[in-house]
Symmetry: C2
Subunit: 111 residues, 2 copies
Amino acid sequence: MAFNKKEEFTQKEQDLAAFAKAISHPARIAILKTLAQRNECICGELVEILPLAQSTVSQHLKELKSAGLIDGTIDGPRSCYCINWKAFEKFNSEFNSLFNNLKLKNEKACC
Amino acid sequence: MAFNKKEEFTQKEQDLAAFAKAISHPARIAILKTLAQRNECICGELVEILPLAQSTVSQHLKELKSAGLIDGTIDGPRSCYCINWKAFEKFNSEFNSLFNNLKLKNEKACC
DNA sequence: TTATCTAATCGTATATTTGCGATATAAGAT
DNA sequence: ATCTTATATCGCAAATATACGATTAGATAA
């Protein structure tokens, strides 16, 4: 691959893609689902729930955090995570404005 | 990496992740956006719009098609693509049932 | 202090993705 | 039949992602 061409696209396209990339692994979906149900969750609980090693879970949490989908705070020797609902709202509204709004106009059959 | 552990998760988690993976690149977002606006589109038009080589665009189209997000038919020497809105509906409803419904109950502040 | 417990990071192996040029295929035009 | 034209596929190189064990760092307990 000569070069990464991602910067050649619009910021909205990159943002949507980045959010989608963050939720593009079942382990991260499972993490978010758990956080959504419990409102907050300790890292160790997630390690017990998921069929993955502690280091791998930690890596997935790091990705979700750096993508802005979750927040985390250190609580003594452990780490507490929760969902950043604002990021989900932003994704939802951009996804809708891009696809769901257009859908209403264009649902006629095609190829 | 010893093994790919994706099959260890639920089917819903895998389906959501697969859809997200399909839209996790700005080029594929741009393709879908164009198809949503025009209802259908010839491959060559997409190649002109995107800052990518023809072979790369073709590859992205293949991924979108095998993920079920678009349909394509051969029209003489060219290929016509359009969005499969059903796939978007399914993603939307699963995404909402997983996150947006829970959000209403759990929006209190946390970590 | 030393020991323990929790979580993050490092190092590494392997798998997958991204991208392009070159080639193949298939339909239409000459 | 040959020449375009449009698209798909192949083959390769480089970049990223996935996963784990080992190690490190930080807080509490003994």
